[in-house]
Amino acid sequence: MTNYVIALILGVGFGFSLNKAGLTKYSKIVNVFRFTDLAVLKFMMTALVVAMIGLYVFRGLGWITFPSVPATYIVGNLIGGLIFGVGMALTGY
């Protein structure tokens, strides 16, 4: 139950950050592929770096163990990404 409350709160924060970054707009998403507005990249990479530093420090301190990570299967990940990009540029989601 607690786990679900955490999920709900984190979800609200997630949606809030997406909205404030403007990523709920079609033009923001599609313009990163046109190199006219790099907000998506800035947002993604900042989140990546912040979480990455925290995760590796916390693991070093022994506070967390990494959850089961997404599997790497080169062809699947790459083809999935290639198809995903088409949908993303079309819809702006």
């Binding site: 979800g11 404030k20 993604m44 912040v50 979480a51 990009g85 079309l90 819809t91 702006g92």
Partner: protein, 184 residues
């Protein structure tokens, strides 16, 4: 306090500020629940949950699990952690729009979209529907979407995440080129 209020009521933050918020949330997800912030998996779990109710034999497969079969399904057809997260995302987005007073029911509101595809809302809906099928199908193949694989996997330095990002940008740029042509 006033500064805080001004920031909350802004419609668009610096992407760096919003990114820091998401990074902290991604960290908290691992710290508090040992989970990753994935969104696309929730739709698959829900699809499996509904599918198993109306057509159990059709949905009895490796992906959603076989009744009494061995091994865990790839996507559990239950109300999983990501499903609750997805509910939260919906209300979080709404909260963001309400705080900046930009909340509005829209059918086709994006000026740039209208310039490229025309003003008719049905076009937006059809392309959104077909595009979303492409997105969810691709996320199923790759093992995650932008949040669950690219960001959550990337912060754990999983190679899959970077392969996915590379693929996503390569085809995204090409698709945008085709759609926009001379207006690119």
């Amino acid at each position: 306090m006033n500064w805080f209020k001004t920031q909350i009521s802004k419609e668009i933050w610096s992407p760096y500020a919003a990114g820091i918020l998401l990074g902290v949330l991604g960290l908290l997800a691992v710290l508090l629940s040992n989970s990753l912030l994935g969104a696309s998996g929730a739709f698959e779990s829900l699809a499996g949950l509904i599918g198993k109710k109306i057509a159990p034999s059709l949905f009895s497969n490796v992906y959603w699990g076989v009744e009494g079969g061995r091994g865990l399904p790839i996507m559990r057809p239950e109300i999983t952690w990501p499903v609750i997260l997805l509910v939260g995302i919906f209300f979080g987005g709404m909260l963001g729009a309400l705080t900046s007073k930009s909340f509005k029911i829209r059918f086709n509101d994006d000026a740039q979209w209208k310039k490229i595809f025309g003003p008719q809302p049905w076009k937006r809906w059809v392309i959104a529907f077909l595009g979303a099928i492409i997105l969810e199908y691709a996320a199923g193949i790759a093992g995650g979407c932008t949040s669950g694989l690219a960001i959550s996997g990337g912060m754990l330095l999983v190679p899959a995440a970077f392969l996915f990002i590379a693929g996503m940008f390569a085809s995204g740029i090409v698709t945008a080129l085709i759609v926009y042509r001379r207006r690119y």
